[in-house]
Amino acid sequence: MNRTEATAVWGFGNPVGLGTLVKRELVRTLKVINQVIWPPIITTVLYVLIFGLSIGSRIPQIQGVSYAAYLVPGLIMLQVIDATYSEVSSSIFQGRFMNSIQEMLIAPMSAVEMVLGYVIAAVLRGLLIASLVLMVGALLVHTLPRNWPLYLLVTVLVATLFCSLGIIFGLLAEKFDHIAVLTTFVITPLVFVGGVFTTMRFMPPLIREVSLANPMFYMVDALRFAFTGTGDVPLAVSLGTVSALTVIALAVALRMTALGVKLRV
């Protein structure tokens, strides 16, 4: 038997341990609550005011809604992605850096319990952030989801996906810089060109083709479907893509945690 494989810790049997991790992650969020709550609110207000209400007033309706209302789902995704990825990756990186993650590693906590703990905390944080942005949207441009279950489903999936990516990169990062690199050079640009500000129908054909390879496009499109009831691609395609990406990222995060990549020597 390969001993490295054997050290992998699967199974579910310590719900109290899992709950402790969720609580610990939320305590960590609460300690920096001003950093968590205000940036999404202020950024969203600025985007809606500048792009939506001033410039947007010269743009005709898109998918049956005003441009300002069209922006809201994309802004929700932007903030949920940022909040889940950066929180989880820095929590794990700090835990590794200061060794405090060992408190969990020496305890009877399986990889499933650890990953699930981070995911549940990230989903709760993601839902909180999404509600804040949603509230701004409701107040300023009177837009709310028409399809609440779909809104919740997409938000939960995207929070899970970026929590998993946060785990993966929090484990791989050797310096704090490495975490920021992914945000700055990959996530943020992809979200911006992923249909937050404009529909694909306004884009030249070549860019439209390229956009289809951008995973963020499907997240924004699926969430917008919950608001407008229509999208650039069929809902089955966008939701299917988001679900598949989430399952893959979650599986990789689980496997890495079970093998103890950069956790257990």
């Binding site: 050290t7 610990r24 060794n99 405090s100 408190e103 020496i106 020597v265």
Partner: protein, 309 residues
């Protein structure tokens, strides 16, 4: 049933741990009986912390097996981990939690609910003199308090095997004595203790059994007392009133030797009971004893001798 038949607290069989080309632990086997106070000694880089990491699950095992109270630490990892409390060498506390919460959350990872452990957490804080700092974070603690917190956290889930990696490194004499007393008390209460240390006097004073590790292998293992007598004989040195020109046959028979100072005689490997007859023979040979010194080997000698090999 004698103690030797009962399940050992720790059984390591043919453990090896390889990091790439480097063999950090090379085929180690050892057994620590339940209730023992066991010392794990060796120079830096000898493989002590690697072995501990393998026991607690922080390092994977290349070859061999580890059982904690009969539970394999890979197949039956949940039980094995629950039975162990680890006080690591480096501080690894959660900076977002208060001192009291550090204990309560650690218990949570072991599957214990806050309401089950609050009273115990407060009791440990009291016992380790941390009550006044219960609401602070760990950065506000003094060095000694951090050490005590390490120990309190290791004990929160009432482990049967307490593993301490250099518990008194960088600790002043007063606190060291205080920690020793705490450890003796815990051991007397039935907790099996394994500690690694650089301070040989610490191992000699606390541990009933020791293993000395060097270059990833066990150089010697056994009861502390036995190892000391086996590897480092006692020496009696007697200084007399004048230079010893020729050794009387009776003294030569006792193994007397001279070394430098012509007025001093050395006798190696003497037991304390042989001191008086030896002195009588020196006087019978016509010398007056002016000074004498009986030096028993200590762990330092054993250690140096073994590690030099």
């Amino acid at each position: 049933m004698s103690a030797n038949d009962s399940v050992p607290a720790l059984k390591i069989e043919a453990l090896s741990k390889r990091y790439g080309e480097f063999l950090a632990v090379d085929d180690i086997s050892l057994r620590v009986e339940a209730g023992d106070f066991f010392g794990f000694l060796g120079p830096n880089g000898a493989g002590k912390t690697t072995t501990i990491n393998a026991i607690v699950g922080l390092a994977s095992i290349t070859r061999g097996s580890i059982e904690v109270f009969g539970h394999d630490n890979v197949r039956d990892w949940r039980t094995s981990r629950t039975l162990i409390g680890l006080a690591p060498q480096e501080y690894n506390f959660d900076r977002y939690l208060s001192i009291r919460d550090i204990l309560i959350y650690q218990a949570g990872y072991y599957g214990l609910r806050p309401r089950e452990v609050r009273a115990r957490a407060d009791e440990l804080l009291e016992r380790f003199g941390l009550t006044s700092k219960a609401k602070e974070t760990f950065v506000k603690l003094s060095g000694g308090m951090k050490r005590r917190l390490t120990l309190a956290r290791a004990l929160i889930h009432q482990p049967r095997l307490l593993i301490l990696d250099e518990p008194t490194a960088g600790v002043d004499v007063e606190l060291r004595i205080e920690l020793w007393a705490l450890l003796r008390e815990l051991n007397a209460g039935g907790t099996t203790i394994i500690l690694t240390t650089h301070y040989l006097e610490e191992a000699e004073s606390l541990c009933r059994n020791i293993a000395i590790i060097g270059n990833g292998r066990i150089a010697a293992m056994g009861p502390t007392e036995e190892l000391v007598t086996q590897h480092g004989p006692a020496t009696l040195s007697v200084t007399v009133d004048r230079a010893v020109e020729t050794l009387a046959p009776a003294l030569a028979a006792r193994g007397a030797r001279r070394d430098g100072d012509p007025r001093t005689l050395y006798f190696d490997g003497l037991s304390p009971a042989q001191i008086a007859p030896t002195l009588a023979e020196i006087e019978a040979a016509g010398y007056a004893v002016e000074n004498l010194e009986f030096r028993r080997a200590n762990l330092q000698d054993v250690f140096l001798e073994l590690v030099r090999r």
